[in-house]
Structures are given as C-alpha cells and as structure tokens.
Amino acid sequence: MILVENMTKRFGKFTAVDDLSFVVNPGQVTGFLGPNGSGKSTTMRCMIGLDSLDSGSTTFNGQRYVDFRRPLHSVGVLLDAGNAHVGRTARNHLRWLAQSNGISKSRVDEVLEIVGLTDVSRRKVGKYSLGMKQRLGLAAVLLGDPHAVILDEPANGLDPEGIRWIREMLKKLASEDRAVLVSSHLLSEISLIADNLIVIGKGRLIDQCSVPDFIGRYAQRWVRIESPQLTEFASILERAGGRTELQTSGAIVHNLDATTIGELAAKNSVVLHQLATETGSLEDAFLELTSSSVEYHGTLGGGK
C-alpha cells in the first residue's frame, strides 16, 4: 500500500503540492489525474525523495522510500521515458540499474524479453523511438519485481499495440496484488484500466474514488428520445421543466429523468421509439470537475 499524508511542496512562494493525502491500495490500478501544472509529477518525485518535502510523508507498506536499501525490489518507478543515456545500450542501461540493487544479469534478459526489446537490446538508446524508450522504462520498473509501481504517463508515444500492451501489463501487475499508481492525460485509457482515481488540481486533492463513482458524481446525464411526434412532445417536456435539444435524429432532454419522460409520453399518448439515459464520459467528468483548477487555457484561435 502506498500512503501519502499531508504532502506539501513549495518552490519559493509557489505551492506546487498543498497538503495532499491519498492512498493507493494493492491489487488495484489507481489513476492519478489533474490538469497540466496541477502537481502530479512533483508529487511523484516527492514520493520517492527526488524532491525534498516541506511537510508530510510517503510510505510504501509502512516504510519511507529513502529507507529502502535496495528500493527497486519494493517500488518500481517510471517518471520519464527519456531517463536513459542516449549513448548507452539498453542492456547496459538496465545492467547498471540491476547492479546497483543486486539484481542478476539473467533478470535483465527476462525483463527485456517481457517488454519485447531483446532483439534491439544492444542498440543505443539514442536510436530508440519514444515508444521503445517507454518500454525500456517499463523494463526498469519490472527489474526488481516490486510490490508498488509508480508510472508517469507510461502510454506516451506508444502505438495502439503498445497502448494495449501497457493496459494489459498494468492490469496484470495489479492482479498480482501490487499497488499501481499511474498518471496519464489519456483519460479514455485511464477509464479502461483504473479501478480508482485520484484527482488533483493546483496541488490539492479534489477527489479520490472509484471510476464509476467519479463519473456518477461529476459527469452530466441526459435522456435520449426518439419519437415520430418529437416537436409536439418537446413542448410537453419544456412545460414539465425539461430542456430539449433537437438533433438530426431524435432529441436530448436535460433536467428530466427517463421515468418522468416515459410517464409524460404515456399520459400524452406520445409514441417513443427510443428512451435511454446517457452519461458523460470520464473526460467530461474530469473537465467539469477541474475546470476551475486549469492553469493554462488554450483557444481555437481565428477570432478578432
């Protein structure tokens, strides 16, 4: 289990992480979400002691990271796929890591096989694509067979096959009772792999819950209807307090639930061909929740 308690990190007057607390349970993939600049990477660096904390603590099964003599056996970390010397071969990159933690050469070969880099292991990292570097980073994570895994944007630069591979890999790691914390901007990916979510904004915890709970709490819901008497029924719904958006096929109704709409249809002898409740995606929920925490906004341009 990974336990973060009251973590605060300041850079001068800027508070990057503000009294952040959360738990990452074993046997689950926990998604770590937040807008750009929300403090996700800083949090991960602080968790393993790369950045000093102003206050708070992180423990892995009750032990601080800095107290591990051979931490790769306990915690696997991928913070940046580019954390490898471009002039060194992948095999040598893993070998120096392995030697520093008393891990055998044969384990280096094993993890190269697992991530599919055996054939190119003697090639210099500088000649690797971003996707290959990500795989190498994951090989480093797996070296010590750790019980906790921390990954910052592991799917960055991976092709669809690679994304599917990492999805299965993370699920497998969690199924082996490891605590898996993974940050990603690919919310669709997170929705497929994560059991729990930790959402932060401006360095503060916004929510920690399961994915369905998160969507249920923050995503909008609406009812999709289709009817041959759509225009007539739309005015009935408006009078009942609904807000109707006519579409090319059918309409979307806000502010009324499916039961109410069904009863109104029956009462007014309106034929319905479709009556279905729809919910926004994880992305919708995330954007809704973090809109006030976004530091950097973009525009589509073109306006005067």
Binding site: I48, L50, P71, L72, W96, Q99
Partner: protein, 249 residues
C-alpha cells in the same frame, strides 16, 4: 556498496565519450614519448628525456582525468539519468562516494598504466636505436608517483565541480580555465605588482609543480604541495556533497 561501485563503473565505461577521454588521457603521453624516442638524436638523450616527456604530456592527461570526473556526474544531469540513479539508490552520499571511488580507481589504474607504458616503450625504442646510457633520473619515480596522485586528485575535483554545477560545459570550463587562465593571471598580476612568486600557493600551480622532475624551489616539497592541492580538492568535494544532498534532483 560493491554493487553500487560496479554500477557506477559500468556507467563510466559504457559511454563512448568517456572512453574517448580515457584513450586521450592515455594516448597523449604514450604517443608523445614514442615520437620523442624515435626522432630525438641519440647523442641528445639524457636521464631527463623520458621523464620530462611523460610529465609534460601527463599534465594534460591529468586535466583529461579531471574532465572524466566532471562527466561522471554531469552526464547524469544532462541525460536526466540522475533521477533514476537516485531512485535506485536513495542514499545520495553512497552514490557520491561510489562516483569518487570509481574515478579515483580508474584514474590510478589509467595513469599508472600510462607511466609504465611510456617508460617501457620509450626505453625500448631508445635501446633499439643504440642508446646505451642511463635514461632514469633519480627523481623520476617520485615525479611519476606525484603525477598519478595529482591526476587522481584532479579527477576527484572534477567530480566535485560536476556536483556543484550539474552542467558539463560549465564544469569543464572551470576545470580548464582555473589552471590555464585564472591562476596564470593571478600569478602574473601578483608578481608584477608585489614582485612575489605565489605559484606554490595556487592550487593547480602546486599540483603541476609537484609532478616536475626538479622541485628544489617548491615551498611545500613534492608531496606537501600535493597535500595542499588535496585540501582544495577536499573542499570542492565536500561542497559538491552538500549541493547534491540539498538540491532537488
């Protein structure tokens, strides 16, 4: 700690630029000695011929060992591997000690090998050319030992400078400009204004002079001067350790 030492040694030898530096440090005195031994007129050969050649080229090698020390640390920052290094070994002091140990060991082996190779090759070529006199100066061995020790100290200084600056160009510039420009300027200015020779008090001035054959005028003696340079090295190494411990990776 042995594993960490092996890990750091693997890092050092698995990058081509480091190997190039090591080859340059070794090659310069050897090539110089070979050329001198081949082209010098046999009647001009004396007991100082080979030691002088080794010491003059060895002083350049000494600075190259220093650059190797710089790269040992700064490459970690320029290539962002420092995060992985400190994630694998959270005890920063151990990492720093391992890097110092690797540079000290590598510098010792490299420069000892260079001296032995230069003496052997130089004497072999001179013998083949018909030189039958004594080519061994009585102070040669002491100057060779001083050269190896000074190189090791400069290597350690490079590690310290690397930890302080975290930036290869800055650390290498300091390492080269300090002896080749700053100390020369300071020495010349003091000599011109106060008519005093302070070369013995300048760190690199003391280290370089300690490797010379003749050291009669050296204020602290050969190994005293190396000890003086060692104090400067120790100070830089300690500052480097403080910086490495206190700054975010």
């Amino acid at each position: 700690m042995i594993g960490l030492f092996r890990s750091e040694f693997l890092k050092l030898r698995s990058v081509r630029s480091n190997l190039t530096m090591a080859i340059a440090a070794a090659g310069l005195p050897i090539v110089g000695t070979v050329l001198v031994a081949i082209f010098i007129s046999v009647k001009d050969v004396g007991e100082t011929t080979i030691p002088r050649m080794i010491n003059s080229a060895g002083n350049v090698s000494m600075l190259i060992v220093g650059i190797l020390g710089v790269l040992c640390v700064t490459q970690e920052y320029s290539q962002s591997t420092i995060r992985l290094t400190l994630a694998a070994t959270p005890n920063r002091f151990s990492v720093y000690v391992a890097k110092l140990a690797v540079i000290v060991a590598s510098g010792t082996v490299l420069m000892t090998g260079v001296v032995i190779a230069c003496v052997a090759v130089g004497n072999a070529i001179l013998s083949a050319r018909g030189f039958s006199g004594d080519s061994t100066h009585p102070d040669a061995q002491a100057s060779y030992v001083a050269l190896v020790l000074a190189s090791v100290l400069v290597g350690a200084l490079g590690v310290g400078l690397g930890a302080i600056t975290r930036n290869p160009p800055s650390a290498i510039a300091i390492l080269l400009l300090w002896p080749l420009l700053v100390e020369v300027l300071i020495g010349n200015i003091v000599a011109a204004v106060f008519s005093r020779n302070i070369l013995d008090w300048l760190p690199f001035g003391a280290a370089f002079q300690a490797t010379f054959l003749e050291i009669e005028d050296l204020k602290f003696g050969r190994f005293g001067s190396l000890g003086y340079f060692g104090l400067w090295t120790l100070a830089i190494v300690l500052i480097g350790q403080v910086v490495l411990r206190s700054r975010d990776a």
